[in-house]
Symmetry: D2
Subunit: 378 residues, 4 copies
């Protein structure tokens, strides 16, 4: 694989590298790691790459890798939101499969442009909504699909983080921004909902299959001098009648990466906490609460396929991320061998999930600007 | 004390009796336990009462107890919502102090009538919002008051229960109602928000002191054939700028009495779970999370005063309820001795909290009928 | 009931009073609360007693109450260990039933003297091993009795407390003792094992029915200047082949009242934590872990009978204590009515459990003195 | 690196490969994966190795790799206990560094032979006591070293697993053994204590630095027809006066990989649970309990150096394992560059820890055979 972005010191680039390396199936061989050529070069050294395949621009990389006989099978895109579209399109059009960081793009419109190119080229496009890679999330989905919850009545999805509270307290006097996610010219129309709210939305959709009909959102820019939201709360109406609450926050002091979901059905309810990912709680009206734990044979097939270690040997974030890579790699292998897409489908988030996420962001921002009026997804 | 309602088999009447008996300060000596005279009489026997003081109507009881030299110091009212006003007013006007179940009344209007009589008579009126009686809730309040949270930014209050899911699944064909809380002629305009949503609202107010400016609510009557809500979700704007989410439910399968609150401030955040009431979690941006536990000397004075047992010897629901009784008993003692109200105040919910609760219910119902439009509290 | 000991400020006396008052079935009417007559008198006032029935000695109380037509039905003994035997014997011989604090007595020998008098008089003798009063402990026992665990292989019972760590750090220079439990002339041959180790032993026995064959114990007197143990660890061999670990401690810094038990069987295992008493965890080899929660209809009959509140409304220490009182009260009522003992038995700890506890203490101390050699229970 | 053992389907070999691959620093280039040549060959294909470097015996591998200019820098040994010594010695004597699975060897005697060769050759020898690789375990150690616990009084180390309960229930009639750990000719004198008890022992030593003076152990072979222990409980006396309890089990039904440790000091206590490895609980006598969480800046330097992801993005078993690899790799790099050992030392378990583990196993078995008599470590 190749990588665009993710040079020295970048958090998410490192995650992609670890996740792709974990299973010994994928090798990083090329990259355009930084707009700063020196930093790019040094990053290439860090990763033991052939200097010839360390590029100073993604355009050059797409062109040259496409031309090599041993060129990369796919590229990982870990640049800022505003560059997703142009980079993804460049590689797709060069005939190279893509694994892309979420959110899909700077705007829904740009997302649709990517989607057109995906369709036109027939290449694989995967989006790293990594939280759906957790085995117990897959088990939750399997339980819903098997009807164990009955009819779903209510979903509570939450994603409070607190890391931005220091920005709130020590806002720079000149309005300068330390984190590009807070910069609308880079991040798009939303910070908090775009960065993490979409994970919660995607998680709810992945597990339940329910689509959002409309939402009523209140986003708040708590940080002085910043335009974009650092907190968002919303009511949701799902198609089919289920009701929902979704909230995300970056100013929830002391919360870390507290993505949680509760799904209430007529027969049973589910509860999953990202910070304790190896457990899935199942609640009944009149039977003992159950804790389903990763690695046990009572879990379903898909859960088992996404598990590397025996029970009690905890797996976590990187393994879940690696599951997205492994599933996408299956599709990429099929694509290279001319068998893409296979009829039985794949289990990774792609362009559709990306567009849903962008539509969700735009609806949330529009609703919030309209005093939390109910807003349908575009 | 005397009791109106709460005969054999009634849940909440038993709680009131246990809570009042716990500390050996309050003795049940009279009652009108049931509209069924035989059931009332048998209840009186259960409680070892003088048969002469077991009445067949609350009106008779108010009159006769007021006339006795050794008449009751106060009455506990544990009847259905629609009778709160008339019973409370009868006792207040007879010169007898009142401890009343929540919600205050059938409607805000009736609540205001009670309030007028409370003011006119100068008697003590306590409302058993019992969850504020927990020592660690009092500690949470003390921490907010001492400024340890900084400015409060966000509140998430939740109260999911699942007990009504069986009604949803096995709704009676003829629309008959097993639980009076579902009957609008008895319960008022709301079931779920009225019964438990108000506890969540009261808890948030008690701890933070923040008043609700307006709310946008979606209430759902999930149970076939029923008119009243069995689930409600809302966005809240507090005066001063804090944002909130509040939800309550009776159809959250497998949840029991899952009242939880999270309060996020600029300096620290709090988390409290009613089902594990002896712990209060305090979270910081850059310091270890803390678990404050009941019974320790590091807790504040009020927390300590509301504690009966050493650390590690858990206290629970009844003790919290008894704390409301003990605090109200202080006021009642003052009233009897002519010193009511004392300048330093008391720590129990009263008529003001009751009116807030009724205004909250009415705003939530009005908002929901108006498609979750923002609605100010009356 | 009457009470000996437990005057103003005594912790355990207050617990007994709250536990006995909770259900409105038992009334405190007499007492000899203190060896200090003034303190005894004031305690009587606190409890609203007839001054005539507030005695300055237990001997006087036993004699005079026995002589009254309306004399007490039973006495609660909450004095120091070294006085248990003489007080209990005095009341039993006066024809008055007894509820006594644990451990049974100062020594096994004294315990046997009590046992003789219990047998001779045919009176009820209950011992407040209160932790067996918890509903989920009773559920655990019912599960074992129903064979749900299969054959029991192993028991891990632990009871770490940390309250004495301050004594360890600030031991008085002159060797004076602040806590009578550390004084061998009052407490007997053991402090830690006697005070709390016996609770762990009794809990294991109550749930599993397994008897200790022999034990190998190491007790440590960590507190400078003190002779008695403040910590004890032991290996246990149960009759029938199960193995055990039991430890108790008063110097486990930061632990509060952390009584826990794990019982491993061939078919399932149980785990119960006193500080979260409303839950019982059941673990299987190849099925989801279960959390059984108090108040649900799936629990057994005995669990339900010992429950006062619906699920999710937590019960705790006092209610468990009150369950011992209620069960003992049944026996006492039978005794008064001439029907004691009833054939179907009772569910409260009595003289047998007291003797087992004393034998356990003596074996543990003997083993420890003998360098943890295996020691059979006397 | 090269690998001996760990072919297709072997659990621990896969873990070693994932752990070594995670950080992109170590590449698997050679192996002797199986005594079955075909299986070895196929394993080589699985791992994309040059067939020339897939060997049919470890001896051949050691010889040929030592002879290559681009030969492996170190070998990972993941064979059965009885082969550790011969394989390790072969590579060490061929001048190749070693990372070896625990326990060190079949017997203490064999372990000492390895130690002699390590000393003689001056090569790096690392032992994968992987649980000490967890960041919060390193934080625990740093806290002890900084004196935050005061003097350590007591250690409770436990490691219950339940996976062997099925063997207990369905023991083969002919005494055949499905798991080589149960076979004394392969595993050595102990199964349970050797396989997992040593992890608990090593963890206690790593965090506290305390050495075991003597122990009193009771090991039990619960599985019919098997000679080796499947359960072990012991009392421990540490040098300096601290007391300990250590137990390990394979027949604790429903427990998974439940390694836990509690360390009690005069100033504070620590608690860590392997199944929730990102948290470390710190308890005080009179201050709120603290939860220290991985990834926060309040943690110490070593903890931070062993962390890959931000807080709330959980790390788990593989990352901890990879930390052992990374630390050993530092030493190996030093060795290759002629700078081994560096004065400031390294942070990975080596030959010394291996010998301690073997001495621990031998003492435990000897004590158990001697009716749990106190036995000093050899």
């Amino acid at each position: 694989m190749g990588m665009v972005g993710g040079g020295r010191g970048a958090f998410i680039g490192g995650v992609h590298r670890m996740a792709s390396a974990l299973d010994g199936q994928i090798e990083l061989v090329a990259g355009a790691f930084s707009s700063d050529p020196e930093k790019g070069r040094l990053s290439g050294e860090d990763f033991f790459l052939d200097p010839e395949r360390v590029y100073s621009s993604y355009a050059e990389m797409a062109e040259k890798e496409a031309a090599r006989e041993d060129g990369i099978d796919f590229v990982s895109i870990v640049v800022r939101n505003d560059l997703h579209a142009e980079v993804a399109i460049a590689f797709l059009e060069a005939g190279i499969n893509v694994i892309c960081e979420k959110p899909l793009s700077y705007s829904l419109e740009e997302g649709k442009r990517i989607a057109e190119v995906v369709e036109k080229t027939g290449k694989v496009f995967a989006l790293t909504h990594n939280y759906t890679g957790y085995p117990m999330v897959k088990e939750a989905r399997a339980m819903v699909q098997a009807g164990k919850l009955g009819r779903i009545l209510k979903i509570v999805a939450e994603y409070p983080q607190g890391y931005a509270i220091s920005s709130l307290k020590e806002a720079s006097e000149d309005g300068s921004i330390s984190n590009w996610r807070m910069d609308p010219s880079v991040s798009g129309i939303s910070n908090c909902i775009g960065d993490i709210g979409t994970h919660a939305e995607n998680l709810a959709k992945y597990i339940t299959g329910l689509e959002i009909e409309e939402l009523a959102a209140e986003l708040t820019a708590f940080i002085p001098g910043q335009e974009l939201d650092s907190d968002g709360n919303m009511l949701i109406r799902f198609k089919g009648g289920a009701k929902g609450i979704l909230f995300a926050s970056q100013i929830s002091t002391g919360d870390e990466n507290n993505l949680n979901i509760r799904i209430y059905g007529t027969e049973a309810s589910l509860e999953w906490h990202q910070e304790h990912p190896n457990e899935l709680t199942v609640k009944y009206a009149d039977a003992p609460r159950e804790i389903h734990r990763r690695g046990n044979s009572y879990n379903g097939e898909v859960c088992g396929q996404n598990t590397r270690l025996p029970f009690g040997h905890p797996e976590a974030f990187i393994e879940a991320f690696a599951n997205v890579y492994l599933s996408a790699a299956e599709a990429i292998r099929d694509e290279i061998e001319g068998n893409y897409p296979r009829e039985s489908g794949y289990d990774f988030p792609g362009i559709e999930e990306g567009l849903e996420g962008m539509a969700f962001i735009e609806a949330a921002v529009a609703s919030s600007k309209n005093n939390a009026a109910w807003t349908k997804l575009g």
